[in-house]
Symmetry: C2
Subunit: 315 residues, 2 copies
């Protein structure tokens, strides 16, 4: 393990995924106008990487049917990296056509989750990645292809997911043409020790290619897991405004690590994210107006900032 202070000042990227991961499990469809306000608001907070939606069949996920509109709006915001999720080749082609800067293709490390979520084996999903890569290269697109390894730390359906399974899948995804990899604790099973060990293993088998982490705070270990990954050098983390994105199988449990808590964590430690914590807290207030029927999660919004209550925005 590296000394965490050696590069404490190295910039961290918070990638807001609420517009995709947060909204996809809600029963209602957020009006496009509210989504655009959220997107602009997140940008105004200093967030510079935003997953704006997913190119999935609208019939399957009407909540995200306006993804194209969001991409077009997001592409107008200077310096913003616009990413979208895609679950198959068709979605990948749509993402390339949209002009998004990055696409995230989820591949489950759990066979059971992969079948339930994508109706494909992990290997079939990897074959889609190869097809998308071929499409991108023939189109001359600069869109980055990221494979997100879902259920990398365990699965509600099959329980344990072996580290070796994740390693093999990462290698297969890279061979298939993924530019980079992220590891996702889709169901909130990860613990800090496991996070350290898995990311360290990744650095050995695929140096510099596993660059981001996606944690849920379902069991209260989200921030500790972020710190474990940060300590060994990971510098990009997904988060959801208001801690949206909860697992439908864990009622009352929070979802993704909240953007507010994540921004507070790094600001408090003096690590640059460019994100204004107060502005994020104000945006959360707006979100609770847009989603009046949903509980928002996260700690800092409830407790308030420490005194002196001004946190410098470290850019």
């Amino acid at each position: 393990m590296d000394n965490p202070k050696a590069d404490m000042q190295e910039r961290v990227i918070l990638r807001e995924v609420g517009l995709r991961d947060g909204l996809q499990i809600l029963p209602e469809v957020m009006p496009t106008q509210d989504k655009l306000a959220w997107l602009s608001g997140a940008y105004a907070c200093g967030l510079r990487e935003i997953e704006v939606g997913s190119f999935v069949p609208p019939a399957r996920m009407p909540q995200l049917a306006d993804t194209s509109t969001l991409v077009q709006h997001a592409l107008q915001l200077p310096g913003l990296t616009v990413s979208v999720l895609v679950p198959n080749l068709k979605g990948g082609i749509a993402a390339l056509a949209s002009g998004a800067h990055a696409l995230l293709f989820p591949v489950s490390a759990s066979q059971a989750h992969s079948m339930a979520n994508l109706r494909k084996t992990p290997q079939q999903a990897v074959a889609d990645v190869a097809a998308i890569r071929a499409e991108r290269d023939s189109a001359g697109s600069a869109c980055a292809i990221e494979v997100g390894i879902s259920t990398a730390f365990g699965c509600t359906l099959q329980g344990e997911v072996r580290a070796e399974t994740v390693v093999n899948l990462v290698q297969e995804a890279l061979l298939a043409g993924a530019d980079k990899i992220s590891l996702a604790d889709t169901v909130g099973y990860a613990d800090p020790r496991q996070v350290s060990e898995l990311f360290e293993m990744m650095e050995k088998v695929a140096p510099g290619r596993v660059v981001a982490a996606h944690f849920h705070d379902t069991r209260g270990l989200g921030i500790a897991n972020v710190m474990a990954a940060y300590t060994i050098g990971i510098r990009r983390f997904d988060s959801c405004l208001g801690g949206l994105g909860g697992c439908p199988h864990a009622p009352g449990a929070s979802g993704n690590v909240s953007t507010e808590d994540m921004a507070y964590l790094f600001a408090r430690m003096g690590v640059a994210t460019g994100v204004n914590v107060e502005a994020v807290l104000a945006l959360r207030q707006k979100l609770s107006g847009w989603l009046p029927n949903h509980t928002l999660y996260g700690h800092i919004a409830k407790a308030g900032l420490p005194k002196p209550a001004t946190l410098e925005v470290v850019s």
Copy 2:
């Protein structure tokens, strides 16, 4: 920073402080019978260090007026380390007379908090420690004297607390005769980086003497702070069943790191605490019956254990 895996298997002690820290800010007085059931229940869960109360004037804190009864009961439980909090010399004498194995004397690093809490400067509090040490030595008691540095990471009254202030106070407390020191984030201001830095500093100025940490989860960083302290070698942590112990100035915010979450964290990582997580979750259910008017905090109770839902008790 040490490699956390080097001594990953070294045993961690969870010190249950709910009977003191949890109850002292509640408006009602928990009946002694319920407290005794809680105490026995905590012991049955595998907890082997419990702070059972505080020797404070009953008029000032009627919630803890039965501390002597709890100490006597606790002393019957084989292998249990029984500790009490004392705020002054009189309390210290009572603690020594009670036969408790350890007493915790809080000394605030914040001048403002010290005056508000104990009506003494930190230096006057340290003088009390010296007096208690003299009493103990002349009584031939084996009671361990621990000084807990309150507000070691910041203070709601004065804001920042400088690390140098904490260092000086620790040295004064050791000179006054404290056997060991713990650092407390009384108001939930600490961040993982600060925790690493302050405990590393302690190890330099007082090697082996700063042995425990007390974190609140007020701003969601409690478990991450525990991990930061654990990573640099701290092996004793305070926790409260149900995450009781919230700061009255932060409505809706959780209090101490919950015993359930802490036990889950270490069990999930395979670190020995001797604590049975399922039993702690069952005891929490009883606690919610004893305190029907209070919100309990903590994540694992809401989300449930991961699959396979059996966590081995590592002893």
